[in-house]
Symmetry: C2
Subunit: 355 residues, 2 copies
């Protein structure tokens, strides 16, 4: 058995994978693969509506919101958000807390003015900026809830005078938060929600239809919402597996249960990083992510050796992103506590080896 | 065993489905699912490069072309083509041969001027217009190679004074044609190439970078090309299964072999439609599609009865699109001759029943 700490596409629950494989051969006992059925069949329509209901239920969303599944990954959302919400000459506010935030900023500039209220770029994004004012005349304020690459996380969301928009690609469904405080939430599936190839957008309906710009169909939230995520052929399989994963989250006890498990996993791993003299964390302690745990070695020269050692212990995906170096242990919902315990034992075994 | 005549997502080869299901459990013997591996792994990078090589080889493309796999389905291409090739105030020419063509036209109008050179809309798209002139000052001329809904197909591509752009979603890899005559070819995967969730674009490289407009990253062909279809997380699984399907096409003997088989399937079915007094085709004979065979009954009142009869014979996906009514038998690459023979026998049995 592999221990999959990869940052994304990330680990999925074994039960989900089994059901997914079965559906590739025979979906719902139809005698057909999920890969070769029309998305307009009743069976698939009920997959989409169940997925939407699960999102609504897991996040306790009220009726102000529309839920839609889209092609294009989170990167397409970087553009779709301003395409739909930021008119030419208007201003949106962004918090620059990492690589993904800065990519979102770059795309927004194609559509209107961007006010970057704060940035931690100069310190290589090791912390979340907290000292800023959100301009009251901005169309929205965009934050990245979890910085997958740098391993920092917004543990509290700011009070915002304008609609709060968040890229939650790497921590959605991992913790309890008040989703009804947001204007728009989006996430690529491939960390906590499912496989690559589908993205989720949760849109407060009253925000749409306000910009002057004409929006091509595929980039228009309203059209996707009006068509129940079937304006065009959806990414059928990715959406199906996302639905299975959401079902699994619910079966585990929902987001509150996931949070409890995730907090324990994170606490276990950070405790070892802090205790073990060979390792150290890379981020401000108060901003440490409970999804992507970034750490390095005091002596960078033995990092490669530890990676090899971990690999022999069936640990995969541990190499840090090139912007940070060292290691990144992604401990998404589907990663069990036992894998974290195994990583900790491996760190301890390496410490012994080096004594 | 089901006989899957669905129009899309359509039938895939059984061998491909078996391999796909296996990869969902254990990809390339890695101990990990294809759904939970990083797209940056060597194993997946080689999937993408094999898929690109197969496209190049199967279509005998020369080095003027870049091949890229994209999110968003064919509908996103309706917008991406003019986003990248049609500056504001410039003109593109389009042939209006069906629903998809008219949707492509609609999206192009968001970006520049559209000259619709001919349309068969007034006759409910039962034929392909042939009497038109392509304006020599258009940026490109767009055609839909196969009209999935109406069951017509361009058996010959026009000589064009400007770059020819084609939506080949429903007949790519089904027949031999000179791909090197085109400026740009695109296709959603979910008919002849793989499952829903990925699209293919084949772009003559010299056409890019000519419009003034600033293009957001995800809508910019050049960026996807420069990043080897990994500007962002690609739709990993859909791309993998597409690669397997392309491999299968090659193993069958390539596009020439597929064409031979497809022509025989089409001939068998059209012969029965013409012979059987209960049924009749809906399109101009010379434009009949070899992928989507549309037909109705002389007596529409017994269409429902025939559909039920066919269903009992394990025939699925035969219901015609609401714009045409009656029946549509999609006979994509993966559909065997034996399924066509079975449909023909079923039509004959129904004829006997009605005698
Ligand atoms: C926080 C965050 N936002 C956006 C992205 C980009 O997602 P995609 O590759 O689906 O475009 C990622 C990918 O890792 C991410 O972690
Ligand atoms: C010829 C053609 N073009 C475009 C499309 C739209 O494709 P998608 O659903 O991937 O956007 C289809 C879908 O059936 C099609 O048949
Ligand atoms: Mg980041
Ligand atoms: Mg330490
Ligand atoms: Mg059509
Ligand atoms: Mg007849």
């Amino acid at each position: 058995m592999k221990h999959n700490f990869g940052a994304g596409p990330g680990i999925l629950p074994q039960e989900v994978l089994k059901q997914a494989a079965e559906a590739v051969l025979n979906f719902n006992n139809s005698g057909l693969s999920i890969l070769e059925i029309s998305h307009r069949t009743a069976d698939f329509e009920s997959v989409v509506s169940e997925a939407c209901s699960l999102v609504k239920e897991l996040l306790s969303l009220n009726d102000d919101y529309a839920i839609t599944f889209l092609h294009g990954g989170a990167s397409t959302q970087f553009a779709m958000v301003p395409y739909n919400l930021l008119g030419e000459g208007e201003t949106a506010a962004y918090l620059d807390s990492g690589t993904w935030a800065s990519k979102a900023i770059k795309e927004a500039k194609f559509f209107g003015n961007v006010n970057v209220v704060a940035s931690s770029k100069e310190s290589n994004y090791t912390f979340i900026p907290k000292d800023y004012t959100i301009p009251a005349d901005a169309n929205y304020f965009h934050v990245t809830s979890n910085n997958t690459i740098y391993g920092t996380q917004l543990h509290e969301f700011p009070e915002s005078p304008v609609p709060l928009v968040s890229d939650m690609s790497s921590d959605i469904f991992s913790r309890v938060f008040d989703a009804n405080k947001f204007g728009l939430i989006y996430a690529g599936a491939q960390k906590n929600m499912g496989p690559a190839g589908v993205a989720l957008a949760i849109v407060r309906k009253d925000l749409l239809g306000k910009v002057d710009r004409k929006i091509p169909s595929m980039f228009n939230y309203q059209l996707h919402i009006d068509n129940g995520s079937m304006y065009n052929t959806p990414p059928v399989f990715a959406l199906y597996v996302s639905m299975l994963t959401l079902r699994w989250v619910k079966e585990q006890g929902g987001v509150a249960a996931m949070e409890k498990i995730n907090n324990k996993k994170a606490a276990t791993l950070y405790a070892e990083i802090d205790r073990n003299p060979l390792f150290k964390g890379t981020c401000a302690v108060e901003d440490r992510s409970r999804m992507n745990v970034c750490f390095v070695m005091d002596n960078p020269e033995i990092e490669k050796e530890f990676l090899d050692f971990a690999k022999k212990a069936d640990i995969v995906g541990l190499k840090g992103h090139r912007s940070v170096g060292g290691f990144r242990a992604s401990i998404y919902n589907a990663l069990p506590q036992s894998s974290v315990d195994h990583l900790v034992s491996t760190m301890q075994a390496f410490e012994q080896l080096k004594k």
